[in-house]
Amino acid sequence: MLRMIAAAALLLPFAAAAQQTIKIGMINVLSGQFADAGAQMDNGAKTYMKMHGDSVAGKKIEIIRRDVGGPNPDVAKRHAQELVVRDKVDLLAGFLLTPNALAAADVSAEAKRFMVVMNAATSIIIAKSPYMIRTSVTLPQVMETFGTWAATKGGLKQNYTMVTDYGPGHDAEAAFASAFKTAGGTIVGSVRFPVANPDFSAFVQRAKDLAPESIYVFIPGGAQPAALGKAFAERGIDKKKTKILGSGETTAEAALKSMGDAGLDIITAWHYDYKLDNPLNREFVRVFSEMHGRNPDFFSIGGYDGMHAIYETLKKTEGNTDGEAMIAAAKGLKWQSPRGPMSIDPQTRDVVQDVYIRRVQKVGDEYVNVPFDKISAVKDPAGERRKQQKQ
C-alpha cells in the first residue's frame, strides 16, 4: 500500500508534465460603452469550451482575460506585451475593436505569437501580423457583397447612404456604394451621423425629403439601431416603397425587440443570426442561453469560431504553440460552424464564409431576421485586391 502511494507520488510530476497548459491571452473590452459586445464575444468563447472541453491535444487550455475598456490601442498593446513577457501566454486572442487589434498585431509579429481576431472587422488588420487569422467578418466582405446584391438581384437602382461618421462607417459606406455603383446603381445622396448621436429624426427627415428608392444604413450596435428604426417609423417612411438596407447590427435582437413593428421589412446582409436554422446552431444557442441567460449574437459566433480555430490548429500541431507552426496549420482550415460552412483563406489568412440576405419578419410574436438569399464562400474583397497589388 505504502509502496503504491510512493509510486503514485513519483509519477505525479510526470502526469503534470504530460498535462501541460496552453495559455491564451484574451484581450477584450469588458467595461465601458462596448462592454456588452465584449461580454458576448467572451460568452461565445466560454460556450465553445463548455461544449468541447477545456483541453485539446492533451493540454489544458487556460484563458487569461484582460480588459482594454474601449478603443485604447496603448492599453491593448501594453496588455499584449505583458501577457507575452509576464504571463508567458502561448497565443493572443479576442480583439473586439480595430485599434486594439492593430496595436497588438505589432506584438504578435515581434514575439512570433499566433493571434486570433474574434471580432474587429476592418480589412487591413490581417496584414499587420503574419501570425494572425480572423474568425469574425470583414466589412467589405459583407458590404460589397450587399451592394452588388442590391443593384442586381435586389432590383434597386437608387440609394441614399446614411452612416456613422467614424472609420467603420466610412469603410462600410465606401464598400457598399462602390459595389452598388459598379453593378449599375446610383447613389442619390449621403449623410453621416455624429458618433455620439442620440436622435436620428433630423437625418431621417433629410433622407425622406429626397424620396429615394432605398436607404443604406450603417451604425454601431447598442442603443442607436433602435433609435434609428423608430425615427424611420415616426417620420412615416413606408418600407414597402423605400427599402431600408443595413448591417446585422441594425437588426440585432435587442434592437428588434425595442423597435417592434418599426423594424419590420428592414433588409440586412450579415453572416450570423441566432435564429439560423441548422442543427449545429440550435445546439449552440441552447447551450449558450443555458449558460448566459440570453441568446448569442454575431460577437458570440466570432468568439466561438475563434476558439474552434484555436482547438483545430492545436490538434494539427499536436500541441505545438510555436507561431510559425500554428499559422501554417491554421491556413486553409475548413469547418462547419453554426453560421454555416467557413474556412481560413490559405493566402490572406482571413475568414471565408457565406453572407445571408435577411428580411425582418414577425414569426409568432417575435421579430426575426429571416434569410431569403445567400451568397456562398465570400472572401474579403479588399484582401483579394491587396493580394493582386502585391503580385
Binding site: 433630423a202 442603443a223 415616426e234
Partner: protein, 287 residues
C-alpha cells in the same frame, strides 16, 4: 420648406424637453448648495432601470411606471444625501467631484452586475408609438408626450417655486445661503427636499429617455456632458434658465443636423462655447 422647419423645430423641442428633465435638478442643487453632484445621471439611471423592471418583469404599463421612476430616484437621492453627501458640503469642489465620480463608477458596476451590459428598452403603449396627424403634418406620438411632460414639469416647478413658502425658502437659499440661514430658514432641510426632488426629476427623465436613447450601464457617463452643458448655459439655480438652455440646445442640435449635417457633431459644443463667451454665468443666472 415650412413643413420641414416645423418638423425640425418639433423634434428639437422634444429633445430639449428630455435634456431639461435630466438637468434641472442638478442646476438647482448646484446653485443652492454649491454641491457638485456629478452622479446626477446615476440617479436618472435609477428611474430608467426601475421603469425597465416594472414594465418588462412585472408587466406595468409604461405610463404607470413613470411616477415610480420619480419616487425611486427621489428616495435614492434622499438616502444618498442624508448618509454621504451631507458630510461633504464643507469639502472643496474638487473633493466633491472626486467623491461623486467615485459614486458614478460604483453605480456603473452595480447596474452592470444586476442588469447586464445589454441596452435595455421598456415597451411603450400603442398610443405612444408611430405618429399623429395634426394640421396636415405628422408628429411622432412619443415626442408629443415628451413635450407635454416637459411643459407640465416646468409649469409645476415654476408655480411651486414662485407661489409656495417652500419655494420662497429655496429661492432665498439659492440667492444667498448665509442670509437665508440668518433669517431662520432651515437651509439643510430645504436642500434635502430639493435634492430629492431634483433626483426624482432626473429619474423621470431617465425613464422618459429610454424610448429615445435606450438605457445601458454607461448612461451615467455618456449623458453627463450634455447635462453639464445645459446647466452651465442655463445658469446655476435657474429653472427658467435650464428650460431655455435645454430648448435652445435641443433645437439648434436638430436644426444643425438637418441643415448642416457635416457640422452635426460640432454644433452643440459650438453653441455652448459661443453662449458661454457671451454670458459666462449662463442665460438666466441668479447670481
Amino acid at each position: 420648406m415650412f413643413a420641414s422647419l416645423a418638423g425640425v423645430l418639433f423634434d428639437g423641442v422634444a429633445y430639449g424637453m428630455l435634456l431639461f428633465l435630466l438637468s434641472v435638478g442638478l442646476s438647482v442643487t448646484l446653485g443652492m448648495m454649491n454641491f457638485v453632484n456629478l452622479a446626477h445621471c446615476s440617479l436618472a439611471m435609477v428611474g430608467g432601470y426601475v421603469t425597465v423592471s416594472l414594465t418588462n418583469r412585472y408587466g406595468w404599463p409604461f405610463v404607470a411606471a413613470l411616477p415610480m421612476a420619480f419616487l425611486a430616484a427621489a428616495a435614492v437621492a434622499l438616502v444618498l444625501e442624508r448618509t454621504l453627501y451631507r458630510r461633504l458640503y464643507r469639502a472643496s469642489d474638487l473633493d466633491q467631484c472626486l467623491f461623486t465620480i467615485g459614486i458614478v463608477f460604483i453605480s456603473i458596476a452595480v447596474y452592470a452586475w444586476f442588469y447586464g451590459t445589454v441596452v435595455q428598452s421598456a415597451p411603450t403603449p400603442s398610443y405612444l408609438r408611430g405618429s399623429v396627424e395634426l394640421f396636415g403634418m405628422s408628429f411622432a406620438a412619443y415626442r408629443l408626450f415628451l413635450i407635454a411632460l416637459g411643459l407640465a414639469v416646468a409649469i409645476v416647478l415654476v408655480a411651486a417655486l414662485e407661489y409656495t413658502r417652500f419655494g420662497a425658502q429655496v429661492r432665498a437659499a439659492v440667492d444667498n445661503q448665509r442670509m437665508a440661514r440668518g433669517l431662520g430658514i432651515d437651509v439643510d432641510r430645504a436642500f434635502m427636499i430639493t435634492f430629492a426632488l431634483g433626483g426624482g426629476l432626473a429619474g423621470l427623465g431617465g425613464a422618459a429617455a429610454i424610448e429615445i436613447v435606450g438605457l445601458d450601464h454607461a448612461f451615467a457617463l455618456n449623458y453627463l456632458v450634455y447635462v453639464l452643458i445645459v446647466v452651465a448655459v442655463g445658469g446655476l439655480g435657474s429653472i427658467g434658465g435650464s428650460f431655455a438652455a435645454a430648448l435652445l440646445l435641443g433645437v439648434s442640435d436638430m436644426a444643425g443636423k438637418y441643415y448642416f449635417p457635416w457640422l452635426g457633431a460640432f454644433l452643440i459644443y459650438l453653441v455652448m462655447v459661443a453662449l458661454l463667451m457671451w454670458r459666462p454665468v449662463g442665460l438666466f443666472a441668479r447670481r
